[in-house]
């Protein structure tokens, strides 16, 4: 058992679950989505990303790419939220955007977790 694999697996799954937790709910009602969950999703995604750095395999490269996509989308979502809150004011459009962008990140996270699971299944040990 490789401790690094345990930790990176842990964070990849955690990134996916927190992201899903935030995304789940009515996209027009912001109250159904916890800002703490978005924060946790961003942090866990960032940690998952740094665990994928330095892996020189093809799979590692794709994993890193999906993780970067998820990071960018989650940070974009948080930025839109801050923009809506302080600059332009909250409108239903902004609210939907916040949630739907994290939906994109969720897809990236699902791909990432699938690849990770697939890579694990393929290895014989």
């Amino acid at each position: 058992m490789n401790l690094t694999n345990v930790i990176s697996g842990f964070f990849i799954i955690l990134a996916l679950t927190t992201n899903f937790g935030f995304f789940y709910g009515d996209p027009t009602i912001l109250e159904e989505h916890s800002k703490y969950e978005l924060f946790a999703a961003i942090i866990f995604n960032l940690i998952a990303t740094i665990y994928k750095l330095g892996d020189k395999t093809q799979l590692g490269a794709v994993l890193l790419a999906t993780s970067l996509v998820a990071d960018i989308q989650l940070i974009a979502s948080a930025s839109v939220w801050a923009l809506g809150e302080y600059v332009v004011g909250m409108t239903p459009e902004i609210t939907t955007a916040i949630i739907s962008i994290t939906g994109g990140a969720l897809v990236a996270n699902i791909i990432s977790a699938t690849l990770f699971a697939g890579g694990t299944l393929k290895s014989k040990r």
Partner: protein, 550 residues
């Protein structure tokens, strides 16, 4: 990175969770943005102050905890980034990537040098002055660092690597079409052979120049088809022979190498009498052949009985010497010898031999071999008549072989011409040109001779004589002597003035500055060519141009 993210996350979360108070005294929670903004400038020790409202004591408690946590995390992250930059593995990878890019970007022809030492340094210096690009492969990192300090006019890419790994040659661009030559002049023959072989196998079109001081290696190199094999000891012997039997050829050779056309005091070896040579090693063996051919009486002194026996088989002019220099030299008959050659591979043994010889026979001509290039000042202080620096001998030869192919061929052709030919040649040069002739290589190609090529392609006849006409009066001849002409595979030594030129001819001239200036004008400029041919200036320049272009 991990530490940084976690410490930031904890601080931000704490700032959001702990309630604050706004100006009206109402309970206020920092938003994530507020917290992120505050923590960012707190952790990086920028510190804009408490925002958006003055903090309450519970908040300050958390902040003071966070400061220590995030600032330490921040410094830790910076520390690991710096450690990464200083990482040796990463640095070599970056240097390799940079080298690859440099090689990839090279468009001009370039020469690969295997090993960087004082010899190759001097060659690279001369080449870069000529605008010829070099690339260096060196095993020793400290030598590459030393190379950066040497100021070349061109930027010389250097790769740290062992040529025993064939990839190193590939990275250095050996398979590129503009890689013209591979030069390996290490003092280790085996290494040179290795370099030559890999270079030849990886790219058979590349010219390989290597040093080989042992005959076995030279033969191996010959079999694999290496063009230029250099042996510094043979050069020593050849020069010695030339100085004794055909000094004019030696003068010509040194002139081609860029020295003035006259004989140095160091080349005025005594032509009669007995020579005493200390050391029968690689240099001694080469010198023996030269002296024998020159018909000079000689005697070798050698301390190693094996070498003595080896020579005694076919030549008895050797004694085995032991112990004191003085006694050894007296035994060899130093009193009536005319020249002593100290050719051992130890500088201080050589010096002591020369000093002892001078004491015993003050009028003797002294020749000493200097092995270590740093002993220069000691050797010059010893007032030795002729100092042989083995490492320096290959500089000119290699430079000529790479940068001046015509001069190299010229030297090869005149090598066996004999002293009468050389004397005649010297006389011609001195009479026609003067005391200090210059030399020039050129080619009848559109790049170097635009007008001449046009004229020849239209069926015009131009003889060599026309090129030497004076441009102020075309009845006068400039001081120009054509030395060598190469036409395809054909070679002409001292081509005749009546010879007609063809496009593609390569020429080596001796002459003075005016002659070369006029020569370039005649070759490039259609008006000047016209004047040189007819002696008339073009009245109507446009018509003249059309006439030539038609």
């Amino acid at each position: 990175m991990f530490v940084l993210i976690v410490t930031f996350a904890i601080s931000i979360l704490g700032m959001v969770l702990i309630p604050g108070v706004d100006e009206q005294g109402k309970v206020y929670h920092l938003t994530f943005f507020d917290a992120f903004y505050f923590v960012s400038y707190m952790a990086s020790t920028i510190g804009f102050g408490e925002s958006p409202y003055t903090f309450t004591y519970p908040q300050r408690l958390w902040v003071s905890f966070s400061i220590y946590m995030t600032v330490i995390g921040w410094f830790y992250a910076i520390g690991s980034i710096i450690a990464l930059v200083q990482d040796k593995v990463l640095a070599t990878q970056l240097a390799l990537a940079r080298f690859r890019n440099q090689i990839h970007a090279l468009r001009s022809p370039f020469i690969i040098f295997v090993g960087y030492n004082l010899l190759t340094k001097n060659i690279i210096l001369k080449l870069s002055e000529e605008g010829i690009q070099s690339v260096v492969i060196e095993k020793d990192e400290s030598k590459i660092e030393a190379m950066v300090l040497a100021n070349y006019t061109l930027e010389i890419p250097a790769l740290q690597g062992d040529i025993k790994d064939p990839d190193v040659f590939k990275v250095a661009g050996i398979s590129k079409p503009n890689c013209k030559a591979v030069v390996s002049l290490s003092s280790d023959d085996a290494l040179n052979l290795h370099a030559a072989m890999s270079a030849k196998l990886l790219n058979s079109k590349v010219k390989v120049i290597v040093e080989a001081t042992y005959d076995e290696y030279a033969e191996n190199l010959n079999t694999i088809g290496i063009e230029i094999i250099e042996n510094p000891f043979k050069i020593v012997a050849k020069r010695l022979y030339m100085a004794l039997r055909s000094p004019s050829l030696l003068m010509l050779e040194q002139w081609v190498y860029g020295e003035p056309l006259r004989l140095d005091a160091r080349d005025l070896l005594p032509k009669e009498g007995k020579y005493i040579i200390c050391g029968y090693g690689r240099m001694g063996q080469a010198i023996r052949i030269a002296l024998k051919r020159a018909g000079i009486d000689y005697l070798f002194i050698e301390t190693d009985p094996k070498k003595v026996r080896k020579m005694k088989k076919n030549d008895t002019h050797i004694i085995s010497g032991e112990g004191q220099d003085k006694k050894m030299l007296l035994d060899a008959g130093i009193k009536d010898a005319v020249c002593v050659i100290a050719g051992m591979n130890d500088d201080f043994v050589n010096l002591s031999i020369v000093m002892a010889a001078k004491k015993l026979n003050p009028s003797i001509f002294t020749v000493a071999r200097q092995n270590n290039i740093f002993d220069k000042s000691i050797f010059s202080a010893a007032q030795i008549d002729r100092i042989i620096v083995v490492q320096n001998l290959l500089i000119n030869q290699t430079f000529i072989a790479i940068a001046k192919p015509l001069s190299e061929r010229f030297l090869r052709l005149i090598k066996n011409m004999g002293s009468e030919w050389g004397d005649g040649m010297m006389l011609t040069l001195k009479q026609v040109i003067g005391e200090d002739p210059l030399k020039m290589e050129t080619a009848i190609t559109p790049k170097h001779a635009y007008a001449l090529c046009n004229y020849l392609e239209q069926g015009g006849d131009v003889t060599l004589e026309i090129l030497s006409r004076n441009l102020t009066d075309n009845q006068q001849q400039n001081r120009l002597v054509p030395l060598y002409l190469k036409r395809g595979e054909e070679e002409f030594l001292l081509p005749d003035h009546t010879m007609t030129l063809q496009v593609g001819d390569k020429l080596l001239f001796a002459g003075d500055k005016t002659a070369f200036d006029d020569l370039e004008y005649i070759m490039q400029n259609i008006y000047e060519l016209h004047y040189a041919l007819d002696g008339t200036s073009c009245q109507n320049s446009l018509a003249c141009k059309l006439h030539l272009d038609a």
